[in-house]
């Protein structure tokens, strides 16, 4: 194991198994969930310097593992029975502190369980801990957390510590480092897909409405979606099936049956039409990423797909649209953090002062910035010019995709404009940081399913990912194509190097 490649990873053999392999191993009795969980607890110990977890829950994990072993013995195993996962600290976990990466919720203990984490618990998962994240899911580098930066377990040949991406940076770091077999993330503008690309793991954002948002700390209600972060495409398919489903408590959750996503991995894409959106080829694009994108198209073509050039004309307006709508929704959603009912309270002479003191102190800089932008674009006199305008452009962006999907079945694009960048070289101005989301934001605005698959390394030895975007509720075609791409790429995960 070359020291130049890995900052900090698990040393245990058991943790090298994928979710699917461990599922099968547990079922066949090759090892127990307690043994597997102990290996992961050890791995959390070995990788603690990455700061991937805000809160580790080893005692709870071992209790749950023992219960899983009992169910496995009795033949009552759920679809993810006994598998130790990380849970992004944006999901409310009953009785377990949930911070959203913020000081304003530093002491918040939810009195209820989010629907998605409950679904996973019902499937038999074991909770290793709450993973670190950008504060209120706002960020692309996991550098805005009140609980410290997360480090990517991958490091470049020059040895500098790198960002794992964000906002689900903790989740991707722990999965890549072998400190969880899988983890949950949320994706509003790319927060699952971009960090997955930076950390060389698979990250899937399903169609908006596929997973319930109930119990997930809200950032932007028309954009937020929960999704799996895993080592392989098969793992993501298994996990998404467990996470997804209609929830009457979330009126935006879709009344759609959840298919057996694993069954979509047929390996057969003959005749599939793969669209290459020309507007995603940007001026000054990193030539290594452009080359990988072409390579991806070639792999799919060799597997029998037809490569088709398509146009998504409003692509370049996706980022400004997002940076009107997401902060606007956030300014509304974060209005609840006022020190009255939960979380931090900083005293004031009167109620208004208490609100202002609490929020100024409790929220970090990026969150305050976005709340201000959001407040401005929604304010009287500016609502039409900004918010309504952005909603109209959003409509055009969604229409671009609908039109493209009349001609093709799935789209292939890069996931991120660069590989993981050094932690101490982060862009000093927020807008440059926002450009990290350039390839992921459009699918979020249109509510479409998107997956990032690690497919290659750049010259510095860092992972690069490719993204596949499908039509609404057709995660099947996304998984099917991703499986073929993954098989062609033969990407070696960090744990195997």
């Amino acid at each position: 194991m070359s020291e130049a490649l890995a900052k900090s990873i698990s040393q245990s053999e058991l943790t090298k198994l994928s979710l699917a392999q461990a599922r099968d191993g547990l079922k066949s009795g090759s090892f127990s969930s307690v043994e597997l969980t102990q290996a992961y607890i050890q791995a959390m110990d070995q990788t603690r310097e990455l700061n991937g977890y805000i809160l580790e829950t080893p005692e709870i994990a071992l209790e749950q593992a023992a219960a899983s072993d009992q169910r496995l013995k009795e033949g009552k195993a759920g679809k993810m029975e006994g598998l130790p996962i990380g849970m992004k600290d944006l999901f409310c976990t009953e009785g377990i502190c949930t911070t959203a990466g913020s000081n304003i919720l530093g002491n918040f203990v939810p009195q209820y369980e989010s629907t998605v984490s409950q679904n996973l618990a019902n499937a038999g998962t074991v909770l290793l801990g709450k993973t670190n994240m950008d504060e209120f899911a706002m960020g692309s580098a996991n550098i805005t957390s009140a609980y410290g930066n997360v480090e990517n377990p991958w490091i470049a040949t020059d040895g500098k510590p790198l960002t794992p991406g964000g906002s689900s940076g903790g989740s991707t770091a722990v999965v890549a480092a072998g400190a969880a077999i899988a983890a949950t993330g949320t994706d509003t503008g790319g927060s699952i897909r971009q960090p997955a690309a930076f950390a060389g793991v698979v990250g899937m954002k399903p169609t908006y409405g596929r997973c319930s948002r109930w119990g997930i700390v809200s950032f932007a209600s028309s954009l937020d979606q929960a999704g799996p972060i895993t080592r392989t495409v098969r793992d993501a398919a298994i996990m998404l099936e467990c996470m997804a489903g209609h929830d009457p408590k979330d009126s935006t959750s879709a009344q759609k049956e959840v298919p057996n996503f694993e069954a979509a991995l047929t390996g057969d894409i003959r005749g599939l039409k793969v669209g290459i959106p020309k507007e995603y080829r940007m001026d000054g694009m990193d030539p290594e990423i452009e080359k990988l994108w072409q390579q991806g198209a070639d792999w799919l073509k060799s597997a029998g797909a037809e490569i088709v050039d398509v146009s998504l004309p409003h692509t370049k307006y996706s980022l400004p649209t997002y940076y009107v709508l997401a902060p606007a929704e956030a300014s509304s959603n974060l209005a609840r953090y006022d020190g009255v009912r939960y979380g931090l309270r900083v005293p004031g002479k009167n109620l208004d002062e208490m609100y202002a003191n609490t929020r100024q102190q409790g929220f970090g800089e990026e969150v305050r910035r976005r709340i201000m932008i959001g407040t401005y674009v929604l304010s009287a006199g500016y609502y039409d010019a900004y918010y309504l305008k952005a909603q109209r452009v959003r409509n055009l962006i969604a229409q671009d995709f609908s039109k493209a999907f009349q001609d093709v079945d799935v789209l292939l694009t890069p996931t991120a404009p660069s590989a993981a960048f050094p932690l101490n070289e982060k862009p000093s101005d927020p807008v440059t940081m926002y450009l990290n989301d350039i390839f992921t934001v459009p699918a979020s605005l249109a509510g479409l399913p998107g997956i990032s698959v690690p497919t290659g390394l750049n010259a510095k030895g860092l992972p690069l990912g490719l993204q596949l975007i499908g039509p609404a509720f057709d995660e099947n075609v996304v998984f099917r194509t991703a499986g073929v791409l993954e098989a062609a790429a033969q990407f070696q995960p960090l744990l195997a190097r």
């Binding site: 002491n107 203990v109 009195q111 908006y208 409405g209 209600s221 028309s222 009457p248 009126s251 935006t252 879709a254 009344q255 370049k316 307006y317 980022l319 400004p320 649209t321 940076y323 009255v340 009912r341 939960y342 979380g343 931090l344 309270r345 005293p347 004031g348 002479k349 009167n350 109620l351 208004d352 208490m354 609100y355 202002a356 003191n357 929020r359 100024q360 929220f363 305050r368 910035r369 709340i371 201000m372 932008i373 407040t375 401005y376 304010s379 900004y386 309504l388 305008k389 909603q391 109209r392 452009v393 959003r394 409509n395 055009l396 969604a398 101005d429 927020p430 807008v431 509510g447 609404a472």
Partner: protein, 95 residues
């Protein structure tokens, strides 16, 4: 669209955030930077285009008007910074 310091103060008040006078200019510059980026949207012809509120079904799912939840005051107050007599306690509101 360029913000002046007065507008920054007004937005802070609307957002119930407290910006120090010393920080006002930095915050203004920050926001102007982002607003400059957002101004690109004016290039798009959106004549006759409906605003898209959200993705998916636009009809609100309905349910029976029955009480199906509640009755757990302790849970609601569990995280309260200050509570008394089954209520949240806050500083008095000065009229």
């Amino acid at each position: 669209m360029s913000l002046d310091l007065e507008t920054v103060k007004r937005i802070s008040f609307l957002a119930r955030l407290k910006v120090d006078d010393a920080q006002l200019e930095n915050v203004r510059d920050d926001l102007n930077n982002i607003l400059g980026f957002i101004d690109q949207l004016n290039e798009v012809d959106t004549e006759g285009v409906e605003p898209m509120v959200g993705v998916g079904a636009q009809e609100m799912p309905m349910r029976e008007d029955r009480v199906t939840d509640g009755g757990y005051v302790e849970k609601i107050l569990a995280n309260a910074p200050e509570k008394a007599a089954n209520m949240f306690v806050v500083p008095k509101v000065v009229e």
